[in-house]
């Protein structure tokens, strides 16, 4: 089973988000970078499927030249090939799907995995747009994958409003997955060494496409500036706590 996993380099956001002076990007001078937890799980899931059924994992990322760092992390986890779609500017979901389409059609992938949404832009659509370009079925938000005995289909399921929704898809297909589908492994030492030496294919991507939504500026929503009322220390605060619970109507 040959699998393509698409990942995105995003800043590691810790205590608070600060913006650049032009308010068009996150100030990343002080931050590290990572991929979304959903995508870490997508890589892990792909590696597990290949360990079980054979084949290879290719990982692709659209981003700045520095996204090589994230691709090498994925290689260390067990991917065997990496493609970097290099772009200078932030690119919208339509153009991203177009660029990933070129990678997805460069090999014969049985499965394309993405995160359910990128943790930064949160567009919730690249996987679906890619599937439509490929003319393949797609399911999103997946928390479990079971490959059919015939190897020609899989069942992908998720939880929705307290019920399990299962989708059966013929292969090849596209899935977007969510954190919780597995617990990703830590990279092994041999994995890290292999990742250092592995080649990364670089492909240039044209700039933002027309017809996308145009970001004009970013802002951090004002946190409701309220002063927490301290009800007290330790179990001495319990009567006051009961009072508050009664007041707000949960008791």
């Amino acid at each position: 089973m040959d699998i393509l996993v698409c990942v995105k380099r995003v800043p590691t956001v810790g205590g608070a988000i600060t913006l650049t002076a032009d308010r068009r990007a996150i100030d990343t001078k002080m931050s590290g970078f990572t991929i979304s937890p959903h995508e870490e799980c997508a890589v892990e899931e792909a590696v597990r499927l290949v360990e079980r059924f054979g084949g290879a994992v290719t990982v692709a990322s659209l981003g700045p030249p520095e996204a090589e760092e994230q691709l090498r992390s994925c290689l260390a986890l067990g991917a065997s090939a990496a493609v970097l779609l290099e772009t200078a500017a932030e690119i919208g979901p339509i153009a991203t799907a177009d660029a990933l389409y070129s990678v997805a059609t460069s090999g014969s992938f049985d499965l394309v995995l993405l995160g359910n949404e990128a943790s930064d832009t949160g567009d919730y659509q690249v996987g679906i747009r890619l599937a439509h370009l490929l003319g393949r079925p797609v399911a999103t938000g997946i928390k479990a994958i079971v490959v059919g005995d015939d190897g020609a289909s899989l069942t992908a399921s998720r939880t929705y409003r307290g019920a399990t929704e299962a989708f059966t898809l013929p292969l090849p297909c596209v899935l977007t997955v969510k954190e919780g589908i597995n617990l990703p492994r830590y990279p092994s030492l041999p994995g890290r060494l292999r990742a250092k030496r592995a080649p990364v294919t670089r492909i240039g991507v044209p700039g933002p496409a027309a017809g996308e939504i145009r970001m004009t500026s970013l802002r951090v929503p004002e946190a409701p500036k309220k002063q927490a009322t301290v009800l007290g220390h330790s179990s001495d605060a319990v009567p006051a706590l009961v009072g508050v619970l009664t007041e707000i109507g949960v008791l």
């Binding site: 205590g15 659509q125 399990t164 919780g180 017809g211 939504i213 145009r214 004009t216 927490a228 009961v242």
Partner: protein, 417 residues
Amino acid sequence: MTVYCLVELDGAGVADAALRALTFARGLADGQASQAGARLAAVVFGEPPEADLARYGVTDVIAMTGIDGYAPQAWARALAALLDAPVSAGPASDGPESGGPVSGGPVSGGPVSGGPVSGGPVSGGPVSGGPEPGNTSAGGPAPDRVPDGRVAVLAAATDRGNEVLAHLGAITGLPMAANCVAVSPAAGGGYALVRQRWAGLLLEEALLDSPVALLTVATDAVSAQTPDTPPAVSAEMSAAVAPTPAAWESAPARPESAREAPVVRRASASVSAADLVVRAVETPSGAGGASLATARVVVGGGRGVGSADGFAPLEELAALLGGVVGVSRVVTSEGWRPHSMQVGQTGTKITPDLYLACGISGAIQHIAGCSGAKYLIAINKDPSAPMMTRADYAVIGDLHEIIPALVQAIKDRTERD
């Protein structure tokens, strides 16, 4: 303009998230108050709860038939057909005084006068044509109802809403904006919108240069509200509407904004076999009880809980309060609780009346998941933890001491009563 809103059902009623999306959608349609022709059409796959929809001010209800269950691409295909032939406020193509749509026909008896506030709608039949092609305002719009060509398709930013609208974007080639918190028409025929990035930790202001907008509405963008002036209800609906209109009568009559009963139409979705390949088979999950996303009370536990066993008092408290337990990411990565209980950016976004966060420091990815709580109470040893400074109420101390004491106090109180 015409605003379509995909309305998800929850049992026989409208899902909470869909009520919020409808409220948001009505804001967009009403923002066009100068245009008497602005329509708000609820699109329902299944049997539409007409009374609920009427209360939320929809002018049209489109009941989609022909698709069994949830098939995201097929749902999107059906919405795409609506965009090809939008509901219009102009007369139907078969004549300016047309008494009904060409096909389908109204499910309810059409608007019937007799609403408690307004005198009800003027004519006895639906004024607009059906969603089928060839049934648009080809007969020429009425002079006071000039459609401006703007069309928006909205859905709640749930798993399904985002998924269906992304499919719709792919089918139509149009951009789709997920998790919007505000939208307004902009000069030049497009829209100015504000949407969430980073699960709401960051807001993006953006322009959409298209008269057709595909948007999902962040689940915490607005709270569900019925219009201040109630919709007029048709005779057969009024029986189903509760409470009785008594409450409405105290509201000042504002005939200029009085609403007509929605026109209900059935539309048969035309989909291909390929659209139906991916279709949900639903089974109730074993979990039972209230779900995290919709719980009214969530008791949260984080690193401070210390172990898998440490959750027992939190679970007891949650049960006493009629709520559920939610956890922070560290708890699921430690394997203390399953990921399905995780609150946060990559877990579940919660909107309870009360979030009682115990031993949770408050990483911003967690805050992103719980900022929709009406009241936030934090219990933590560290008074400077972000969760403590963000809370409405804070208790400083060890949760292992405080929670059992609280549980006992609630039990004592119950026994006294």
